[in-house]
Symmetry: C2
Subunit: 240 residues, 2 copies
């Protein structure tokens, strides 16, 4: 088996390391940022997307969400037999192609980039797939993750509620707390800061995480996120 | 120094243990539930509130929030020289008395009751006080906690935003996820459950915690919690 990784960041780099260390797979990689490949997570640094994927049996596309659609299209064109999967957080809007299987591992870290890649990043993590596919499920299990097959729409609604909405909530809570603390400090001369308890720290742990990445995710799932916000605010108002 | 604890639950029991183990203080305790005192966290089990506090220099009232005001009143009457403090999550609505100092440790556990009391529960935790008072601050520091003096209104606004609102949010998110999962399972025959990622787990960690306790807290701070919900939903709608 030969694996190619297009977009060697935290996720792509961790899959590359995992596939090499745990599955004995040879991995080629390409990233538009040459620094990403200096980290040594792949066996073979390709000089173009086409070079990276031409000999692969399986290709993982792990670019930022805005770049997924064109990158997947380019991979399907450059290699006419490989199975292609991705790692994006939104599963609609991607090519419908018999060789493409949408994927999304529920794993990450506050540290982005291949420099933080770890072979064990996916141990025990759920990994969504938009359809059942033996070779892709084998890769997922090889990473120590658990495949969950579910259609793109069900996935995106679920992510809007259980991931994208909690991120927006965290940002808003952190923004409000900073504003209220500043106001209190302007009123009370001796006050420098107000302590934040464990429930606030839990609720805001993901606040401010990787803004460009999250902007892309929110935009790609804007319809379902909007519906989730509407339902959520209604239920919250009912509890006043 | 003699300490009396009125209401021997997780908080009262942990202060009793901490005061005995770390400060060498003799502690008497009273709780309407005789089972609470069977745990052995106090030196002396009193048969009434009056018996518990009559010889004390310092009294901690750690009852559920609804019972605080009458209990503090009864303590101030039963002992005419002791300093009285409490551990309630809302600091307005309590007696204004020269011997009363409002208190609120930002610590807890998902396990209620004196049976889960621990002398180290407050290590490193912030502990709000509504005014500066040497003996009470000494007790707080003796518990390993950090005193933060701030007026009752500033405290209650801050708690509405950083604790009570996150609890309501956690409940609503958990309720929505359960509803959506059920709906998806009714549509997709093979679906048993949908995995919940780390940001959802963080955001809902406190969901469903001790409902009667939290109902009391929300009611006691309903005005500021309502304002926080209003401001929060406005900001959230702005992000749609």
């Amino acid at each position: 088996l030969r694996l190619a990784v297009v977009g060697v960041g935290l996720i792509g780099g961790s899959v590359a390391l995992g596939a090499r260390e745990r599955m004995g797979v040879r991995v080629s990689g390409w990233d538009p940022d040459p620094g990403a490949l200096a980290s040594g997570v792949v066996d073979e640094v390709a000089s173009s997307l086409e070079d990276a994927v031409c000999d692969a049996d399986l290709v993982l596309v792990a670019t930022p969400i805005e770049a997924l659609r064109p990158a997947i299209g380019a991979v399907l064109k450059a290699n006419e037999r490989a199975v292609v999967t991705d790692a994006g957080s939104v599963k609609r809007g991607l090519p419908e192609h018999p060789r493409f299987v949408g994927g999304h591992p529920l794993a990450g870290s506050e540290h982005a980039g291949a420099g933080h890649a770890r072979a064990d990043l996916f141990d025990g993590a759920p990994w969504f797939l938009t359809r059942s596919h033996e070779a892709v499920e084998e890769l997922v299990r090889g990473m120590g993750a658990l495949p969950h097959v579910v259609d793109a729409e069900t996935h995106d609604r679920w992510m809007a509620l259980t991931s994208h909405l909690p991120h927006v909530i965290a940002d808003v809570l952190a923004e409000m707390a900073n504003a209220q603390e500043e106001q209190a400090a302007s009123r009370i001369h001796s006050l420098r800061s107000l302590p934040r308890g464990p429930s606030f720290r839990d609720a805001t742990r993901v606040a401010g995480a990787n803004p460009p990445l999250w902007r892309g995710i929110r935009e790609a799932n804007a319809d379902f996120l909007g519906e989730a916000i509407e339902d959520f605010t209604k239920r919250l108002e009912d509890r006043r």
